[in-house]
């Protein structure tokens, strides 16, 4: 039998399972019941009538969009026969490297806790909760002393780790010793053999960039303002929005969205809807932020202050960023994305309090603090909803120990393990830049929150986890180096000779998906295509294009720092023509 069929069957059953418990399922059921209750319903044609009615009333589209969203969020249907960790990441050395990296992050967090003697989490006293609620819309004015905090890691620390990756099973033609040296056939910093697309594959995949296709970002930008193109795109955008079909919206994004319709098109393409339940959920998460003060809050705060607040484009949105990122850290539904990722959410253990005598079950049950907990046992199956809530002690809630077992009390036992932070994501230096560009599209924190969450769980989480995934940062780095070398070996050689590794410059662009480096308008045009093609491959392509575009300048430079300086400001670049330059040079 065709193995494809098995795969399809598996993903259908997976989707059906997912749908079963969803809100949409009960909504559909209710709508179907209403149809049945109609006096005109006839038994003979009941089935076709109900299906027809669901189609005409628009439920059919919602269902399609939901399925489309599921399919895009779990791209390859996983082989169920493999152990779970292999489904997450098939290569053992990648798994190990990621685990080591996670351990390093945790260690660094732990030592920060110890140094500053602050807990990972503490319950806020009621007055403080009220004060924070009052300040919720202007958290930027609060100026706590964060001078002792430092980002847990910066992109360049992460790059060091990626550079040091080696495949233990791999041996170059000339033997392992020779391969260690970059002067061997492999000139770049990335030393692991991963399959990456060739230029031909990229040209096929991104065929819309070929000349003859109209593009927002080029054709609306001519010296002679091309009203006709804009009007046409606006007209199509409206049609796409009227159709309410995610797949159309996604396809539309490939040629760039007109700025006036981008917000809605993105929501439709990514399957993000914001109804009253979502607003309630946001409020609930906000409640969690008010209840507990987490160490990551300070890290987020510090990061926003270090990045967005000093940015000409984004400083205006400081307060919104807190309202999005703090809430994000409490959102356990973000944990679902770990099933698709090589990363594991960090865990913390609850220290058993020395209770006064007479403590027992009733005391336990009087504990009031609910904090979302990741249930480790169930992690082995990605299909179930893995998460539930557990009661946790309120007093000095977590000890400053992350993921490291302790011999005291119940530490180290899985049942006392909690994911920390609740969404499992530890922010690094520049993390808040994933959210800032979205502030140009969504004027309300709630709408902003859900689109950001979708962007992160679908795409951006791959940019800071070590994996062999084709969208993972390692593959993207390799694609960058290989493409640059194959397109312009002379430039690569020149850079090498002056001691400059292009990846050292491009890496920060890649990790942030260019947020904070390009002008906002250009960034949005780039992210249009990320959505449109459902992948991140254009990031390294653009990075290559920037080097090619600036080549005449680069050839004149004789030092690595000079190269760095000449590429420090890329806000004047136009992304679409640059990408075309690489994919379809004239």
């Amino acid at each position: 039998m065709d193995p494809k069929i098995n795969e399809i069957a598996a993903s259908i059953s997976e989707i059906v399972k997912k749908l079963n418990g969803s809100t949409l399922y009960s909504q559909l059921k209710r709508a179907a019941q209403k149809e049945v209750e109609k006096p005109t319903a006839s038994l003979a044609t009941l089935k076709t009538d109900v299906v027809e009615a669901l189609k005409t009333s628009g439920w059919d589209r919602l269902l399609r969009n939901k399925i489309f969203a599921y399919l895009s969020s779990c791209q390859a249907s996983l082989d169920q026969s493999l152990p779970f960790e292999c489904q997450k990441e098939p290569l053992m050395y990648m798994r190990k490297a990621q685990a080591n990296w996670e351990r390093r992050i945790l260690k660094s967090m732990n030592s920060m806790c110890t140094e500053l003697s602050i807990p990972l989490a503490r319950k806020r006293p009621p007055e403080e909760q009220r004060a924070l609620l009052h300040k919720w819309n202007e958290m930027g004015t609060e100026e706590p002393d964060l001078s002792h905090f430092r980002p847990v890691y910066a992109p360049k620390d992460f790059l060091e780790v990626i550079i040091s990756l080696r495949n233990p099973n791999y041996c170059g033609l000339l033997g392992p010793e020779v391969d260690e040296k970059p002067s061997g056939g492999h000139w770049g910093l990335i030393q692991v053999p991963l399959e990456i697309p060739k230029l031909k594959d990229l040209q096929n995949q991104f065929s819309e960039f070929a000349h003859g296709h109209g593009h927002a970002g080029v054709d609306d930008n001519l010296d002679v303002p091309s009203e006709a193109f804009q009007n046409e795109r606006n007209k199509i955008a409206k049609k796409v929005l009227d159709e309410k079909r995610s797949v159309l919206a996604q396809y539309f994004c490939r040629n760039g969205c007109p700025s006036g319709h981008r917000a809605e098109i993105w929501q439709l393409a990514l399957g993000v809807t914001v109804n009253h339940l979502d607003v309630l959920k946001y409020e609930q998460l906000k409640g969690y932020v008010l209840q507990h003060d987490l160490l990551v809050d300070s890290l987020i705060y510090k990061d926003v202050k270090l990045t967005a607040v000093n940015d000409d484009y984004y400083f205006v949105f400081e307060d919104y960023l807190y309202q999005v990122l703090l809430v994000f850290s409490r959102d356990t539904s973000v944990l679902n994305h770990f099933a698709q990722s090589s990363a594991m959410p960090p865990k913390s253990f609850i220290r058993a309090q020395k209770e006064p005598s007479g403590t027992s079950a009733e005391q336990e049950s009087s504990l009031t603090e609910a904090i979302p907990v990741f249930d480790v046992d169930k992690l082995t199956s990605p299909n179930q909803s893995n998460f539930n809530y557990t009661l946790i002690k309120s007093k000095p809630t977590f000890p400053p120990h992350l993921g490291i077992c302790d011999d005291e009390g119940k530490l180290g036992q899985d049942e006392y393990a909690v994911v920390y932070p609740p969404n499992g994501v530890i922010p690094f230096h520049g993390f808040s830049m994933y959210a800032t560009p979205l502030c140009y599209l969504y004027a309300e924190p709630v709408g902003l929150y859900y689109i950001f969450r979708q962007f992160y769980t679908r795409y951006f989480h791959r940019l800071h986890a070590i994996s062999s995934h084709p969208q993972g940062i390692v593959s993207l780095c390799l694609l960058f180096e290989t493409t640059l070398q194959s397109l312009h070996p002379r430039l690569c050689r020149h850079l090498q000779e002056i001691g400059c590794q292009p990846l050292k410059i491009a890496f920060k662009w890649l990790v942030r998906a260019f947020a904070g480096y390009l002008a906002t308008e250009q960034l949005l045009l780039l992210w249009d295509r990320v959505i449109g093609y459902g992948n991140l491959l254009l990031l390294p392509i653009l990075a290559v294009a920037i080097f090619l575009f600036r080549q005449s300048n680069l050839f004149l430079i004789t030092s690595a720092s000079g190269v760095e300086a000449s590429l420090a400001d890329i806000t004047t670049l136009h992304v679409v023509p640059l990408i075309q330059l690489v994919l379809f040079p004239t």
């Binding site: 006036g260 319709h261 981008r262 400083f315 949005l524």
Partner: protein, 329 residues
């Protein structure tokens, strides 16, 4: 042109000097033969004063009109605009069209404003129609947010007039006059913060009117969250966007100074509100500028040796209507 341009200036600002020198101009002193003089308003006034008797020759230009204050003084701007509207009204010009509430459809570009003390009675009448409204008091001859305060009760203005009268027994001089305007209490907020626009307009001639809008205007942001609460009426950080005021706020960021480019604003508005309404807003801003220049064009001394760079302060409300607040340099 074989001869070099000679410029003089009495403002030793690097932004000016650098730009002149970049063009290969040479600096001369004001007493020498200059082609281009960038002066402050007092120098211009004395150059054009009758006693001085200075005559500008064909190859000389200067950066102010002799009676520039027709637009830049808060009270005169209001007077001129009101007069302009009345004139159009009289000739039943289509631009003077009014809606059912008696408001101008096309000319309603400044908040309702009165001169104090002259129009005190008119103001009281207007205030009583909307007793809970907030008004903003500004001294006519001062800039950079000096002497500005908000009121929302008549008693506050009575107290103010008592206080200012008791200090001196002479009638208030023109420079002690105030304008009082309906406060725009529904400003458009971005990221929860209030801002105003600074747009630069170059006028090279009033008759016929020739003006140019500078593309790189900017938004100036308050550093503190905007609140309508009347408790905060005294907190000027909430209400005034002047950089000279905001600089003293604790939150002032020296990297960008709370300034955001107009192109950012446009991108944000197109993204969050749509293209059409954004285009309409910017059209209205252009129209409002032209209208204000038209309003003074008949009174301006249209000296062909003069040009002027005006700074327009504009506030946008939450319905995306622009309001002209004042014109400065």
């Amino acid at each position: 042109m074989s001869t070099k341009m000679k410029f003089a200036t009495d403002l030793e600002k690097s932004v000016l000097i650098n730009n002149f020198e970049k063009r290969g101009w040479t600096q001369v002193s004001a007493d020498e033969d200059w082609n281009f003089y960038w002066t402050n308003v007092n120098t211009t006034r004395s150059i054009f004063s009758l006693e001085n008797g200075y005559r500008l020759s064909d190859d000389q230009i200067i950066n102010h009109f002799p009676n520039h204050y027709e637009l830049t003084r808060k009270d005169l701007m209001v007077k001129n605009i009101k007069r302009f509207r009345k004139e159009l009204d009289k000739e039943s010009h289509p631009l003077a069209e009014k809606d059912e509430n008696g408001r101008y459809v096309h000319l309603d570009s400044i908040p309702v404003t009165f001169l104090l003390p002259a129009d005190y009675n008119l103001f009281v009448e207007e205030f009583r129609k909307n007793p809970s409204s907030t008004w903003i008091m500004k001294p006519c001859g001062k800039a950079r947010g000096i002497g500005i305060f908000l009121i929302n009760k008549l008693s506050q203005i009575k107290k103010w007039s008592r206080d200012s009268r008791s200090s001196s027994f002479v009638a208030p001089a023109a420079k002690d006059a105030y304008v009082i305007s309906r406060y725009i209490d529904n400003p458009l907020l971005i990221g929860g913060k209030k801002f105003d626009l600074r747009m630069y307009v170059l006028v090279t001639s009033y008759r016929p009117l020739k003006c140019y809008m500078y593309r790189l205007g900017f938004c100036r942001f308050c550093t503190v969250k905007y609140t309508q609460s009347t408790n905060e009426l005294d907190n000027m950080f909430v209400h005034l966007t002047n950089v000279s005021i905001q600089k003293h706020g604790e939150e002032y960021n020296p990297v960008h100074g709370g300034k955001w480019t107009i192109s950012n604003l446009r991108l944000y508005l197109e993204g969050t509100r749509g293209k059409q309404v954004t285009d309409k807003l910017f059209d209205e801003i252009n129209w409002l500028t032209v209208m204000s220049l038209k309003a003074v064009s008949s009174t301006m001394a249209n000296d062909r040796h003069c040009f002027e760079v005006y700074g327009y302060d504009i506030i946008i409300d939450d319905k995306l209507k622009p309001w002209l607040i004042e014109v400065g340099f």
